[in-house]
């Protein structure tokens, strides 16, 4: 049986792009739009957009692992939980400023991810999906068990941070900008990391592990590092989400979260940084959209849309957009 190939959406590194200027203009336009949103939308929709950005950070992390490194994880909800609870515990129990909890989450999740990645290294495809799925399923139980720290089933409230006084923003607007800024920063880091030597090594491991090893890439180390980095992104996302929701509880980190994160990565587009944002929109809004279509069986709609996505856009939304863009530019030139 010939090994199935994925149509990965990989931007050709270093290739001259005639439309680069349009892409840049588009990105700046989108950013301007994102900055204008707080003055035109309600607090609730602003909260939803902050959630989209948190999910986008998590999906970016998961995409580094699944899209670029080819390792499937159905357990990233666990790192989202570690991030969220780190923030909650640091603020509530130890009185540490919320800003400091983000790097702490990042470091902590990097360590847990790296450690979990070490045994997970040996597992290919489905087996890794299984092991990580077991992680996802046991997270709520573990959180409930250590109730002295986590508050058990009741969960913990996280106070909403106020904006710095000079900015005159309400808490929702401030969190919106904070999340957006963190997202942009992490996107730039991911972008640079993946275009350089490390990124090439990570992608080489995905495409041909033996050849990568022969070229001097330390597969085991890079795979674990990749797991750690991915977990770290997801942990920071979890922290930000905990701040904007203002509450963490074991049931908000069920296995369903891990499943929707993986679904978001695939729907958004594997190995695509912009795909993370498109996927995050799917993760945040699809459940509600499904509920609007059918009150009786919303998850059936969700599942069906997921399967449909696999048929009509195997490269995800980002792959589809890129395809359309190429068509369009061919028509114009």
């Amino acid at each position: 049986m010939s090994a199935p190939r994925i149509e990965w959406v990989v931007p050709a590194a270093g290739a001259t792009d005639r439309h680069a200027i349009w892409k840049k203009a588009g990105a700046i336009g989108l950013l301007a739009l994102a900055c204008a949103l707080p003055w035109v939308s309600s607090d609730y929709s602003l909260f939803q957009y902050s959630q989209v950005y948190s999910y986008a950070i998590a999906l970016l992390g998961l995409n580094i692992l699944t899209g670029y490194n080819g390792q499937i994880s159905l357990g990233h909800g666990a790192f989202y939980a570690v991030g969220g609870y780190t923030t909650a515990i640091l603020i509530e129990r130890w009185g540490i400023g919320y800003g400091w909890t983000l790097p702490v989450s990042g470091v902590l999740c990097f360590a847990t991810g790296f450690l979990f990645g070490l045994p997970a290294l040996r597992l290919a495809g489905t087996y890794l999906a299984l092991a990580t799925f077991a992680l996802a399923l046991s997270v709520p139980q573990i959180l409930k068990h250590f109730d002295r720290w986590t508050g058990g089933t009741q969960g913990m409230t996280v106070p909403k941070p106020d904006s710095p006084p000079i900015l005159h923003l309400n808490p929702d607007q401030w969190l919106y900008f904070l999340t957006l800024a963190v997202l942009l920063g992490l996107m730039i880091i991911a972008w640079n990391l993946l275009r350089g030597r490390i990124g090439r090594a990570i992608i080489a491991i995905r495409d041909h592990p033996v050849a990568a090893e022969a070229m001097g890439v330390h597969n085991a180390l890079y795979k674990s590092l990749c797991f750690g980095l991915s977990a770290s992104y997801t942990g920071i996302a979890g922290s930000l989400a905990a701040l904007s929701v203002g509450f963490v509880s074991p049931d908000s980190f069920s296995a369903l979260l891990s499943i929707t994160l993986l679904a978001g990565v695939v729907v958004g587009g594997l190995a695509s940084i912009s795909g993370a944002i498109l996927g995050a929109i799917f993760v945040q809004f699809m459940p509600n959209a499904a509920l609007q279509i059918s009150k009786a069986a919303p998850w059936a709609i969700y599942g069906a849309s997921l399967i449909l996505c696999m048929y009509v856009m195997p490269g995800g939304a980002a792959g589809l957009l890129q395809h359309l863009w190429q068509r369009l530019s061919r028509l114009l030139s």
């Binding site: 090994a3 077991a134 046991s138 139980q141 573990i142 068990h145 069986a297 997921l306 048929y311």
Partner: protein, 293 residues
């Protein structure tokens, strides 16, 4: 000592159920080299179908076998209609599709049958038996018998029938099998059908113990994963033995290790999976499969 024996027996009873369900996972894996994350929900849905039949006055065993036939047809249909177009798609796409199926079945069961917890009848006598000071429920003994019978039938089917041989060949050497005239695609579909059927058996055995509701398989799925991993994803008999071991480990650790108790039981399953994957990734009875490129 009696307490210890009792825990072993309860462990075996639970393990028989995990084993039956692990068998379904292994069937899908053997036939298609993928793990079906929707297996549990398919089994749950089939059990609801059986429940519906019994409610409308069909005798238990007739409903049982009718459900088996329906599940088999359903499994074949899902493979043919939904998975067939993705035949050469990567593992990730197939994983996502089975997750989509999981959501669909769960939601449809809730919509069609409701979320209220229902009792499901057991075909075996109710009054518990006492053997050498240990209490055994006839239902556990019966489930054990059904699981063992199932394994026996599967063994005979795969070992002594030409269809079974063709299925094994199609899974291991698809290219060569196609050359000798085996219809590989249909063999995959048959594998899905068989797996769905075995899953529905395990669902109907579990339901009297756990009560019937759309989310009943959630916990079972992870134990069955642990069983299949421990026994080896390539070995049907291994999966059943793995089921017994997981059942016993779960009960003993829950009783004798204070720290674990009842609220970290799923974590035990996680630990088993991770440990097996670290030390013996192919499981106790599994074969390491060579990489085909």
């Amino acid at each position: 000592m009696e307490g210890f024996l009792q825990q072993i027996v309860s462990g075996l009873a639970a393990g028989g159920i995990y084993g039956a369900f692990a068998l379904a996972l292994v069937m899908t894996y053997l036939a298609t080299s993928t793990v079906n994350f929707a297996q549990g929900e398919m089994a749950m849905f089939a059990t609801f179908v059986a429940w519906g039949l019994i409610q409308s006055g069909v005798p238990y065993w007739l409903a049982f076998f009718a459900t088996l036939v329906l599940s088999f047809l359903g499994g074949v249909a899902i493979e043919r209609v939904i998975l067939r177009p993705l035949e050469s798609a990567p593992v990730l796409s197939i994983t996502i599709v089975t997750i989509g199926l999981l959501a669909i079945f769960n939601s449809m069961a809730g919509w069609l049958f409701g979320y209220t917890i229902r009792t499901f009848p057991s075909p075996f006598p109710q009054s518990p038996l006492k053997l050498a000071g240990v209490v055994v429920s006839p239902h556990s003994l019966g489930s054990l018998g059904v699981t063992l019978a199932l394994i026996g039938l599967l063994y005979v089917f795969f070992r002594y029938t030409s269809l079974g041989l063709a299925m094994r060949a199609a899974a291991r050497y698809p290219m060569a099998s196609r050359l000798v005239g085996i219809r590989v695609g249909w063999m995959l579909a048959l594998g899905w059908g068989l797996a769905a059927m075995i899953g529905s058996v395990s669902g109907m055995l579990i339901a009297p113990v756990l009560f019937l509701e759309p989310n009943m398989m959630e916990g079972i799925l992870i134990y069955a994963f642990a069983s299949a991993t421990l026994g080896g994803f390539t070995s049907p008999a291994g999966a059943v033995v793995g089921g017994f071991l997981v059942g016993i480990i779960e009960n003993l650790s829950g009783t004798y290790i204070r720290f674990i108790g009842t609220d970290l039981k799923l974590t035990v399953a996680l630990a088993i999976i991770v440990l097996v994957l670290i030390f013996k990734p192919s499981g106790l009875f599994g074969r390491t499969q060579p990489h085909h490129t």
